[in-house]
């Protein structure tokens, strides 16, 4: 348990650090939300000053940070200037959508990468292996954006998939089955882009990790005991190869998350991505801080989940460092 509690404390410290840094950097950037108003001759300079005072932008940085921390405790996460509402509730809805996308993509890409990588490693150098390797190399060479645009074009031309948004009009009136169908169709494009960009790296790692253990003596010993082939691969080899893969799992969540921010903007998925872009452009300070912090939180949680997996999977880590 020491291992996990240490990781947890670590995670909280990271979140703190990130919040301070984003706060610092956003306030170092010149100008703020109200600067454009100043150029507008119809708004009196006094009004701008009053607004800034109202939102406490005239206060020194530490004070603003302290007040923001206080609002975090209340779940508000500060106040959005452009939406004129607390950031918290604004973010939650978007976060749910992003999470929906990322989790689906993570599960799907690992669900594909594991069998593909295992299959590839089992026939190292054979036809399936080279075929998969070439396909993955090809996928890796295509930039995310090109892939996303290509799929969008395909969707627009074929009309098989909606090209944006989360749900069709009149979603509420659909039966549960159709609701699910509608959601799947809407998710298909963004998830496909995410999975396809994440897949090559994952398959390669699974293949390398598996290839590393396939010649391990304990596998031969198990084979000598007559353990069936499939069980050898998935019950014996895969867990032994899992440690680096579990760490990769943590990273992959991060990668898929940052990938999804881009994909959301391109495919107009109502997640954190578009919100963050909009907020950065209009210097909606607290939304930026909240969005960044939320992404960090996902990342940290992802890594923590990976650590929990690792702890659960490897008894040697559970035992902790022991001197000889």
């Amino acid at each position: 348990m020491r291992f996990l509690s240490r990781r947890l404390i670590h995670a909280v410290l990271v979140l703190f650090g990130v919040s301070i840094l984003t706060f610092l950097f956003t306030s170092l950037a010149p100008g703020d939300y109200f600067d454009e108003m100043r150029l507008n001759p119809q708004i009196a300079p006094e009004t701008v000053v009053a607004l800034r005072a109202q939102y406490q932008l005239d206060r020194p940085l530490p004070v603003r940070y302290a007040r923001w921390l206080n609002s975090v405790v209340h779940g508000d996460l500060g106040y959005s200037f452009s939406y004129n509402s607390p950031v918290g509730p604004l973010l939650w809805v978007r976060a749910r959508n992003t999470l929906f996308l990322t989790v689906t993509a993570t599960l799907l890409s690992w669900g594909l990468a594991l069998p593909l990588g295992v299959w590839s490693a089992e026939r190292l150098g054979g036809l399936p292996d080279s075929l998969i390797s070439w396909m993955m190399a090809g996928l890796m060479a295509v930039p995310d954006l090109a892939l996303a645009l290509g799929l969008l074009l395909f969707a627009a031309r074929s009309g098989w998939f909606p090209t944006g948004g989360l749900a069709s009009l009149g979603f509420e009136s659909l039966s549960p089955i159709n609701e699910l169908r509608d959601l799947t169709l809407h998710m298909f494009l963004p998830v496909a882009v995410l999975v396809l960009t994440a897949l090559p790296l994952l398959v390669r790692h699974v293949r390398a990790a598996m290839a590393g253990v396939l010649h391990a003596p304990f596998l031969r010993a198990a084979q000598g005991h007559g353990i069936p082939r499939r069980r050898l691969l998935y019950r014996y080899a895969l867990p032994a190869a899992a440690n680096p893969l579990i760490s990769l799992f943590g990273f992959s969540i991060g990668a898929l998350l940052s990938g999804s921010l881009l994909v959301e903007v391109v495919m107009s998925w109502p997640g954190i991505g578009p919100l963050l872009v909009e907020a950065i452009l209009s210097r909606d300070l607290y939304v930026v801080v909240g969005g960044v912090l939320l992404s960090t939180l996902f990342l940290v949680v992802g890594n923590f989940v990976a650590d929990v997996f690792l702890y659960w999977a490897d008894p040697r880590i559970r035992a902790g460092p022991v001197a000889k």
Binding site: H215, A216, P217, F218, R220, A221, A222, Q223, G224, H225, G226, I227, P228, R229, R231, R235, Y236, P239, A240, A313, D314, P315, R316, A319
Partner: protein
């Protein structure tokens, strides 16, 4: 009594990536009777591990059994399809591999690893299986069955791991166990313990055991017969006492002379004197010449030794040697 294992004219070769073959086992024939302990004595490069792997068809992809037959309980192992092999391995013949430290799965509990072997061969209710695992472990660890069962391999000592490997091997009640250097990494006390476990397994279950080792002193008092392997072929085979105390083949004789004097014979005069050695280099697996493989290092060689390989000559009861000195 009828043999349980009958190996006839076995030839095994390895192929390099460029397709160059090097033979590891050349024309090996022997048999094992039920409940017999056959010691296979061989140094590195003798092909002893290849022999062990061949018996269960566990050679790496580069290895290839070129000819011969391996009849086990009347079935030709070389003709078996993958499914049949899976049902023979572990259930009828079990392999105990060299290094106990790496032959166990690092992240699976010991009890589960034994359960896996059971599950691979018969369908058992979970509860029944757990009980069977407990019984098997109890036989090998009477004092601490529970603790060992729930341990991971890294928590055990070398001797304990070796016992776990034995437990796995006997889990399904096979009729033969092939043990490849089972005690090489253990200290003498533990070594003795493990060897006596083998002995009692033979007594209790009538298990036939092929014990492969490079150390002749392990076989004395344990093996019924000894097969001496040199460069992939059988130098001599015979009853243990006869092979170890009056060896016939020049290689066996030279090998036994290399050992430091036994403890009871140690005295000051001999101490720190040079030990007799076998001249020349270890055998080269890419050997291409006709003739006896030990010839280049042999003190007693004649002309004929270079021309063809000696055939096996049966001298006394069950003692067979492949050397021209004896008429080969």
């Amino acid at each position: 009594m009828a043999s349980i294992l009958e190996v006839r004219n076995l030839h095994v070769a390895y192929f390099s990536r460029t397709g160059v073959a090097s033979s590891a086992i050349v024309d090996v024939s022997f048999s094992v009777r039920p409940g017999e302990i056959l010691g296979v004595l061989g140094e590195s490069g003798s092909g002893k591990s290849t022999l062990a792997a061949s018996l269960l068809r566990l050679l790496p992809a580069s290895g290839n059994i070129q000819q011969g037959s391996i009849l086990f309980e009347g079935r030709d192992v070389l003709q078996a399809d993958p499914r049949e092999l899976e049902s023979i391995r572990g259930r009828r013949i079990a392999l105990i591999d060299q290094e106990p430290s790496v032959a166990l799965h690092p992240t699976m509990r010991v009890g589960d690893q034994i359960g896996e072997v059971l599950a691979a061969h018969e369908y058992l209710d979970k509860k029944v299986r757990r009980e069977r695992v407990r019984q098997i472990l109890e036989a090998l660890f009477p004092a601490e069955t529970e603790r060992i069962s729930s341990s991971y391999p890294h928590q055990l000592s070398g001797g304990q791991r070796q016992r776990v490997l034995i437990a796995q091997a006997i889990a399904c009640g096979p009729s033969m166990v092939v043990a490849d250097e089972p005690t090489a990494s253990l200290d003498p006390t533990t070594q003795r313990e493990i060897l006596s476990v083998f002995q009692s397994l033979r007594q209790k279950f009538g298990l036939a055991i092929i014990l492969i080792t490079h150390n002749p002193s392990l076989l004395a008092g344990l093996a019924d017969r000894v097969l001496v392997l040199y460069a992939g072929s059988v130098a001599e085979i015979g009853p243990t006492d006869s092979v170890l105390s009056s060896p016939l083949h020049p290689y066996t004789r030279a090998l036994l002379r290399c050992l430091p004097p036994p403890l009871c014979g140690a005295d000051e005069a001999n101490r720190k004197t040079k030990l007799p050695v076998i001249a020349g280099d270890s055998p080269n697996p890419a050997w291409l010449f006709p003739g006896c493989r030990f010839e280049p290092r042999c003190k007693d060689r004649f002309e004929t030794c270079r021309e063809r390989e000696p055939a096996a000559v049966s001298l006394s009861e069950g003692h067979t040697v492949s050397c021209f000195k004896f008429g080969g």
